[in-house]
Symmetry: C2
Subunit: 102 residues, 2 copies
DNA sequence: ATGCCTGTTCGATCTACGTCGAACTTAGCA
DNA sequence: TGCTAAGTTCGACGTAGATCGAACAGGCAT
């Protein structure tokens, strides 16, 4: 095995699309590092309550698009771009390549 | 101009994703000809009423993903893959490339 | 140890959307 | 000139999901 992390499989395409189609969640993904570097929770959203943000994180996690890592007691999120690309080549990368202004 | 058809612009990415994220609509897109050949309305859905289907067509049309053409008095739909690709390269094509089983 | 800060869970609310049935419009055909 | 078939529009209904506030849990630092 190439690594010993437990990674749940990427969800069915329909679920991944449903996860991405929400504006708040798409913005979260845009703020994550494409290379998979962990980003602190608070950097990923603005203008919504923590409970709402946590709800969106859960959906993204269950879709297999992100994963959590605890760094010094604080929650960080990591984009699972490689895993999603392996399951659905080009889908997520092409969406993230679109300029956020549109 | 390369053609004289009036084509509304492709909607913002968020709207396109919202349109595609519905299972019924994604199935409709899968049944359309990728090259843009017109397909009769009735071939594009099963198990839902016509009014529901019409509702979904409208959303896809407003998202700029399909367009209508009347052939011998019957409505046909055409996939605007080239237009969508021009706006968001790789997005729609990579999604349609995923085997429908997933 | 004990507070504090961060994130999750729970319950409630409100809105958006998918679905249907019925009525209306249009086009082709007998 | 109606008749029938095909789609759209309209209203209504039900459910799924986005949001919030409050309560809970877990680490870190003081």
């Amino acid at each position: 095995m190439s690594d010993n992390q437990e990674r749940p499989p990427v969800a069915p395409l329909q679920d991944v699309l449903a996860a991405i189609s929400d504006p708040v969640r798409l913005e979260m993904l845009r703020r994550l590092d494409p290379d998979g570097a962990p980003v602190a929770c608070g950097q990923l959203y603005d203008g919504i309550g923590k409970s709402t943000a946590s709800h969106h994180f859960k959906i993204l996690r269950e879709a297999g698009v992100i994963e959590v890592e605890l760094i010094a007691g604080k929650t960080h999120q990591r984009l699972r771009l490689a895993d999603v690309e392996a399951a659905y080549p080009g889908v997520l990368s092409s969406i993230l390549a679109v300029p956020s202004a549109r």
